[in-house]
Amino acid sequence: MSSSLAPECSEKKERYDTCFIKWYSEKYLRGEGSTNECEGLFKEYKSCLDAALKQKGIHSMIEEARKTSPNNDNAKGLK
């Protein structure tokens, strides 16, 4: 598992990552992943991470990049 940008979120991240990888390999890849079971763990991790991103000023940089992406999710879907 890779570390989090925010050390205080590492534990939450690890719990989420482990859940995600398990869900991805055992359910999603087998066509059984109709819901993402790790949502609850993600919310916990995300609220910790968001606070850290805002504090470091990275938040706005990400938002800006998302807007100008040449491969925008909305503009280009999967074929």
């Binding site: 940008l5 990888i21 992943g33 999967l78």
Partner: protein, 239 residues
């Protein structure tokens, strides 16, 4: 000034394993420069069944001198990675872009992972769990020194190729060229390392499954393992 670099490659593993390794690829013995890796969003589209994941990686590394002249303070950079997994059609699309030196050199890498064209036809291979995964990569470079940043939205990443000379009005040509050359060279070096990193994760996945990979990553046991596997060390990992 926009440049494209294209590359095709095949992994000797099936598509599901390669996509799993993609999400699990940090840390590995070739990624010491990757400081952290966080998931910003993960969304399952209920209509299409596609999985959308956005991650933020922090990479450490000194910039080469020619670029550092313009950005002396940057010792690390943020990489935004977006991935879309279409499990029904076995297609993984990824896009990674550098965030914080975009003013000088924007690098956007797009990859498409699909099952290898020969992996479905050969039955013995499928039976033994072999098979291949093709990766098509397009990297788009744009240096913006001395010129206005151009809207990249309409350029169209796939299909359309823009070679040198497309823009005739750029003024600081030699500087831009050197920045781009450095970017290109580093990108080529990076390709090799990332590929090796993916292979290490894939190999470990095959042997011990993702539980083993996670355990190894947590314990930092990659070094030990890498030496056994390759019988050699990796010297340069600082960029």
């Amino acid at each position: 000034m926009v440049k494209f670099y294209e590359n095709s490659f095949s992994y000797d593993y099936q598509w599901p394993a390669v996509t799993l390794a993609y999400f699990l690829r940090y840390p590995n013995p070739y990624s010491k420069h990757v400081v952290s890796s966080d998931t910003l969003s993960s969304h399952l589209d209920s209509r299409t069944g596609n999985l959308h994941v956005t991650r933020l990686h922090l990479k450490r590394g000194k910039l080469p001198a020619s670029v550092a002249r313009f950005l002396p303070k940057i010792k690390e950079s943020y990489i935004l990675e977006k991935s879309i997994v279409d499990v029904k059609n076995q297609r993984l699309e990824t896009e990674t872009r550098n965030l914080d030196w975009e003013g000088v050199l924007s690098v956007v890498e797009s990859q498409v992972y699909t099952p290898g064209s020969d992996s479905t036809t050969s039955e013995p291979e499928a039976a033994t769990g072999a098979g291949k995964t093709d990766v098509r990569t397009i990297v788009r470079f744009e240096s913006r020194l001395g010129g206005a940043a151009r809207n990249t939205q309409s350029d169209g990443l796939a299909g359309e190729e823009v070679r040198g000379g497309w823009f005739s009005n750029w003024t600081t040509g030699s500087v831009q060229r050197s920045v781009e050359l450095v970017g290109m060279r580093r990108m080529r070096e990076g390709f090799g390392r990332r590929r090796e990193g993916m292979k290490v994760v894939l190999e470990q996945l095959r042997e011990t499954g993702f539980v083993g990979v996670i355990r190894e990553q947590r314990q930092g046991g990659w070094e030990r393992w890498k030496q056994v596997w390759r019988g050699e060390g990796v010297e340069r990992m600082d960029d």
